[in-house]
Amino acid sequence: MITLKNLEKVYQTDEIETVALSNINLEIEKGEFVSVMGPSGCGKSTLLNMVGLLDVPTKGRLTIDSNEVEEWPDKKLAQFRNRKLGFIFQSFHLINDLPVLDNVELPLLYRKGISGKERSKRALEALKKVGLSARTKHYPSQLSGGQKQRVAIARAIVGRPDIILADEPTGNLDSKMGGEIMEILQNLNKNENTTILMVTHDEQLAKRTNRIVHLFDGMQVN
């Protein structure tokens, strides 16, 4: 499903060259739930950004769903992200001016051929899956951290992606809330065979996934 070969990411400024990722080789099968662990600054989020096509690797090869995506133009990358990938972020990244339902609908806005009615229906379905169907008209500021993350999960799954990329999804939540979010992700993985790549600091949560990838100073240490 996802293949990384000799992947490298170097951030270059005028004075400093920072190697964020070096020689990463990873293969993730369809339906696998993989967690990425490592100390802060070891390149976990960078790895997730590469897989999520949010940043461009400096070297190496990235294949997703048998597609070599390095040379794709922006429009094609955007369409691919929209159809195949779902993102969950530590800081939720909800748009505060929009109610919950509209936040969840967001990915569908960029998909052609979906009517407003269909968008709302799918968003509602996604919210039901995360147990938030009663909060559709609330604004993010009216929700707790756990609820915000559920909205973010609903937004990630509303487009029925094959892959979910979660960047410390429980990082801003207490352990109870974190546990609930983890449960939702596990259910998605089990019931809908969604491939999940999750960055976490929490070893307990990582143990609940199929596989753990460890990073240190931008390198794989398995």
Partner: protein
């Protein structure tokens, strides 16, 4: 998508209220200025209605020390005859009115001008007391009837000629010739209708003008209106000349009058020069207005640019999110443009509602289409300004990799 954007704008209305207010006032300011500029330019489409070429304003000045008015009058007469007989001159005409190409208010009758059915307010009527030669000197076109002549000496009613626009105002499509109009209590008879004129100059609208025959000149064509001081009691002496005059004409004539009539000077001023001066004096404020509008334009441009730059920079993280969930750079870019165009419309619509009141209330006494053009032009300027201001920051924002954009707060 547009409904989505609109919802967003309404939700964020409080944050955007200052921007909307700025857009509203910018529209109003541009509308005012453009109304005046378009109005002035629009007026040039009307013909001037009189011929100013080869025409001179003549002033006669008495420098001689004398108390003998008979001598003065005789010399005036002789000067007039001398000038009229001078090679290259054609005819004199006299008008008692404010002078041509003067932007100040013209002479109005003291009372409304009345026909049988209609009274035209005096402030809307331009009155010109004219001699029998004026139509020829100014090359006015008689559309109906005739100009004043000696046959009017026998008329018991004072003869008047109306411009076409005044005739239509007073008589509509009916025949005006032979009709009586009440001019300041005098019963005057309409003997002719001539073309519209723009007495005040090129950048004004044609005035509703009534020409009244100067009854003082029945037997003494030039003398009776002269005053002891040498001025013309408010009368303008117009000298029509041939087209092929030598360059030294004015200087030669002035010198010869001074030589032949010691103690008397004449001054000739070309109407073309008077018109050029008028055009300069009209354009000077327009240039000032242009500078003001340029300053306003820059002010709005920088103001909007700063606000939008800040606004979009504040939303870099949102841009990252939108790109993460599948928006292409083009879609994000278009979204900002759409948002700003909607926001601009929200600011402009109240401005248009306010501007629409002007033609209804007739505040600037301009044709409705001038306001419409000004409204459209002001709206286009604002839209263009906003487009300019939104393009650069949105373009910059979409250049960032989504991963980096997501982490910008």
């Amino acid at each position: 998508m547009k409904i989505f954007i609109l919802k967003r704008l309404l939700r964020g209305g409080q944050k955007r209220i200052l921007l909307i207010v700025e857009l509203f006032f910018s529209f109003i300011a541009f509308f005012f200025i453009l109304t005046f500029i378009i109005g002035e330019i629009d007026n040039t489409k009307y013909p001037l209605g009189f011929d100013y070429k080869n025409l001179y304003k003549v002033d006669i000045d008495v420098t001689a020390q004398t108390d003998d008015m008979d001598v003065v009058m005789e010399n005036f007469r002789n000067i007039m005859r001398y000038v009229r007989a001078y090679p290259g001159t054609q005819n004199f005409g006299r008008c008692q009115s404010s002078f041509f190409f003067m932007k100040e208010g013209y002479m109005n009758p003291s009372k409304p001008l009345k026909s049988k059915d209609i009274a035209v307010p005096s402030n809307l009527v331009n009155q010109i007391l004219a001699s029998d030669e004026v139509a020829e000197v100014l090359n006015l076109k008689l559309l109906e009837g005739r100009w004043f002549s000696v046959e009017d000496n026998a008329s018991k009613n004072r003869p008047v000629v109306l411009t076409q626009n005044l005739k239509e105002r007073m008589f509509g499509s009916e025949n005006a010739l032979g009709e009586i109009v009440d001019y300041c209590g005098q019963q005057c008879i309409v003997v002719g209708v001539c073309n519209d004129i723009k007495h005040k100059g090129d950048y004004t609208q044609p005035e509703l003008t009534i020409f009244i025959r100067n009854v003082d000149v029945e037997d003494l064509p030039y003398e009776t209106w002269m005053c002891m001081s040498g001025s013309f009691c408010g009368q303008n002496l117009l000298l029509k000349c041939n087209a092929d005059l030598p360059a030294s004409f004015e200087e030669d004539l002035t010198r010869k009058v001074a030589v032949n009539f010691p103690g008397y000077n004449i001054k000739l001023t070309s109407m073309e020069k008077i018109r050029q001066k008028y055009i300069r004096s009209t354009w000077a404020p327009l240039v000032a207005i242009f500078l003001v509008i340029s300053a306003l334009f820059l002010n709005v441009l920088f103001g909007l640019f700063g606000v939008l730059w800040y606004n979009i920079s504040q939303r870099t993280s949102e841009i990252g999110l939108r790109m993460a969930v599948g928006a292409s750079k083009g879609q994000v870019y278009r979204q900002f443009v759409h948002e700003m165009m909607l926001l601009t419309t929200v600011g402009i619509v109240p401005g248009i509602i306010a501007a629409v009141q002007f033609p209804f209330l007739g505040l600037f006494q301009m044709e409705s289409r001038v306001y419409v053009f000004a409204m459209i032009a002001a709206a286009l300027i604002i839209y263009a300004l906003v487009a300019i201001c939104v393009i650069l920051p949105s373009f910059r924002a979409t250049k960032i990799q989504p991963a980096h954009a997501l982490h910008e707060e």
